[in-house]
Symmetry: C2
Subunit: 335 residues, 2 copies
C-alpha cells in the first residue's frame, strides 16, 4: 500500500510505494541482455496472459477471444505493483505541518504488442494506431471517477529511462491531484494568452514550421521538431498543427496521422542514437478541463544520453551539450 | 562557447554547452574502476597542478607555496569545460517568440583533497572545514559581479550522479538569473510566512526534532534528517537549527559544526548504501537578497538508488519506494 506526502517547500507530491521495491526486473544494460533467457519470465508475452496483471481491455486479433488468453494486438493490464490503486474514498490529513493523502488512483500497463522482440517504432502504423486508441479508450473510462484529477500516459524505454521490463509497453497513472508540472504549464500558457491573445504552443508551431531549422517530421495534422530549449540532447516534441487542448478528443483520422509521425520520429531518434533509452510523455489538460484556447496537448520525447546532476536538481536549470539545430541535422540524416 | 535559451512554457533556462561534450571522463561503474590506471590521467591530483584548469584559490599546506604547485589542502580551479564563463557584458535577445542570453557566469571546481584515493566523507573534520571555507570565500568574491544573480554550490559523486572525474571535488556555478527552483522555494516560503508569521524551514526543524523519527545527526548548530517528502530514497537534508537565510554568512565556529555533521551524515549514507552515487546541493538566498526571515539555507543530499522516469518528467511527482522513517532506521543502524 502506498501513501502520498507533500513537500511543503516545493509543494510537490511524492508517492511512497514500498511494494514497488519488490517488482520484477528484466531490463539490463544492452551488453548483458539475453533475450532468449529473458523471454521465459516475461509476463507480457503472448501465451503468458495468466501470469500478468488482470486484463482491463484488449484489442482482439481472434474473433471470440476470451480475456486473459492469446490472440490480441494490444492488452491493457492492472499493474501488479501499482504506485496508486482504485479506492472508494480519498483520505487527506495533516501530519503536523506536513500534508498526507492515501494512494487513490490508477496504474495500468499497456502492452503494445504480443511479440517480445519488437519495440514500438518497429510496429506497423496500424498497430501503433491500436496502442493510441487504447490510450484514448482508457482515458475516457477513468475520467469518470470523480476523485481523478489527472491522467498521465507515458513510456519508459531502456534501463537508463527507468524501464523495469523489456517487453514493449506504455503506462498510465491517474492521480488525485493535478501534477505541479501541468499546473505550471497551464498557468504560464494562460498568462501568455492573456498577454497576446494567442496560444503559446500555436506560436511555437508557427515559428518552427517557418524557420524549418529544427523540424524532424511533418504530415497533414502533426509536426515534430527538436525543441528550441530542450532539457536533454535530441529532446523532440510532437504537436497537432491545429489547436487542440485535449488528447482524448483526437479523431480517429488524426490518431492515424499521429501513429505515422510517432513511428517516423521515434525511428529517426532510435537510429541516430543507437537504440538509446528514452522517456515519452503525453501532456494534456487535466480531466476536469476542456477545450481551452490557451493550452495545446503534445508529446515530449526525451532520449537519455546525459545524466541529470546536482546543478540540475538544485536549480531547475539544465545543461544540454547539443544545439537543437545540430541534433535535427543528425536526426534528419537518418533516412 | 555556450548560450542560454528559455523554454517559454516552463520558463526554465537551459544552458547549451557544446564544448562540454569534449570534457574528459574517468568515472566508470564501480566494477570497471582501475584506480591505478585512472590516477595517471587525473588532472586534480597533487603534482598535476599544471594540467588542471588555472588555480583561483588554494589553502596551502606548505609555507610560501607558489600557485599551481604541490603543497595544498584545497584548490579552487577554473573549469576547463565551463558551462558559463566570465564575460564583460550580458547580452539578451529574442529569437522570434523565444528568449536567448549569452553564457555570462562562472564555473569553478573545488578539489577537496590532493589525494586521489580519499573521498569527502573520509576527510578529517578539519579538512572538510577548509572545503566549506573555500565555498564561502569564492561566494563572497563572485557576488560582487553585478550580473551574477545566483551562486549554486554542489557535488556530484559517482557516475549515476553525473560525475565525470573520480577525484573528490565539488563545483560552483554562478548564473545571471535566479534559477526557477530557488524562485519557487522563495515564493512558497514567503507565502507560508505571510500566512503564519513563521519560517517554514524553522517549523520543519522543530517538528523533526520533536518527532525524532527521521533524525540522522544533531549537534549544537545543525540537524540532519531524512526528509518527510523526499523525492529519492534516503534523501537527507541538513539545516542550521537557528534561523539563517544566507549560507555565506555562516560563522567560522558554525562552519566547524557543519563540517562535523556533514562528515557524520555522509558517512552513514555511504556505509548504508554501499558507496552509492549521490548529489549534494546547497540551497541559499540569491546573492542580492539578505537576511530574510522566511528563508532558511540548507543542504540537500540525494543518493541515486532509483532512476527518474517518464512519470516524474511528465508530472513533477516522484515515486519513492522507501518510507523516510524506514530509511532513517537503516542509516542509524550504521555506527
Amino acid at each position: 500500500m502506498s501513501e502520498l506526502r507533500k513537500d511543503p517547500v516545493s509543494r510537490r507530491w511524492v508517492i511512497f510505494s514500498p511494494d514497488r521495491a519488490h517488482r520484477p526486473v528484466d531490463v539490463k544494460p544492452k551488453a548483458e541482455e539475453n533475450m532468449q533467457e529473458d523471454i521465459k519470465n516475461c509476463p507480457f508475452c503472448e501465451g503468458k496472459e495468466k501470469t500478468s496483471g488482470a486484463e482491463i481491455l484488449a484489442y482482439d486479433k481472434v474473433l471470440g477471444r476470451k480475456p486473459n488468453t492469446p490472440g490480441w494486438w494490444v492488452r491493457v493490464l492492472e499493474n501488479k505493483y501499482p504506485a496508486l490503486e482504485s479506492r472508494e474514498t480519498l483520505e487527506k490529513t495533516a501530519e503536523g505541518i506536513y500534508d498526507w493523502m492515501n494512494d487513490l488512483g490508477r496504474h495500468e500497463i499497456i502492452v503494445e504488442t504480443p511479440n517480445h522482440f519488437i519495440q514500438l517504432p518497429e510496429l506497423t502504423e496500424e498497430e501503433i494506431e491500436k496502442v493510441l486508441l487504447s490510450f484514448k479508450e482508457r482515458y475516457y473510462n477513468i475520467k469518470n471517477n470523480p476523485h481523478i484529477e489527472y491522467i498521465l500516459i507515458f513510456k519508459n524505454y531502456g534501463k537508463e529511462a527507468g524501464a523495469s521490463l523489456q517487453h514493449s509497453h506504455s503506462q498510465l497513472i491517474a492521480t488525485p491531484v493535478v501534477p505541479n508540472r501541468i499546473k505550471e504549464e497551464i498557468k504560464n500558457s494562460h498568462e501568455y494568452y492573456t498577454f497576446r491573445d494567442r496560444c503559446i504552443f500555436c506560436d511555437i508551431v508557427t515559428q518552427e514550421l517557418s524557420s524549418k531549422k529544427r523540424i524532424i517530421e511533418e504530415n497533414q495534422d502533426f509536426v515534430s521538431f527538436v525543441f528550441y530549449a530542450g532539457r536533454f540532447p535530441y529532446e523532440t516534441w510532437i504537436l497537432p498543427k491545429e489547436h487542440a487542448s485535449n488528447f482524448e478528443d483526437t479523431s480517429i483520422e488524426k490518431i492515424r496521422s499521429l501513429s505515422e509521425i510517432l513511428k517516423k520520429t521515434l525511428s529517426k531518434i532510435q537510429k541516430a542514437l543507437n537504440d538509446t533509452p528514452y522517456n515519452l510523455v503525453f501532456h494534456t489538460l487535466p480531466v476536469k478541463m476542456k477545450d481551452k484556447e490557451y493550452y495545446h496537448w503534445h508529446i515530449e520525447i526525451m532520449p537519455k544520453t546525459t545524466r541529470v546532476a546536482g546543478f540540475e536538481w538544485g536549480s531547475g536549470f539544465y545543461i544540454n551539450p547539443i544545439l537543437p539545430e545540430d541534433a535535427a541535422k543528425i536526426l534528419n540524416s537518418m533516412e
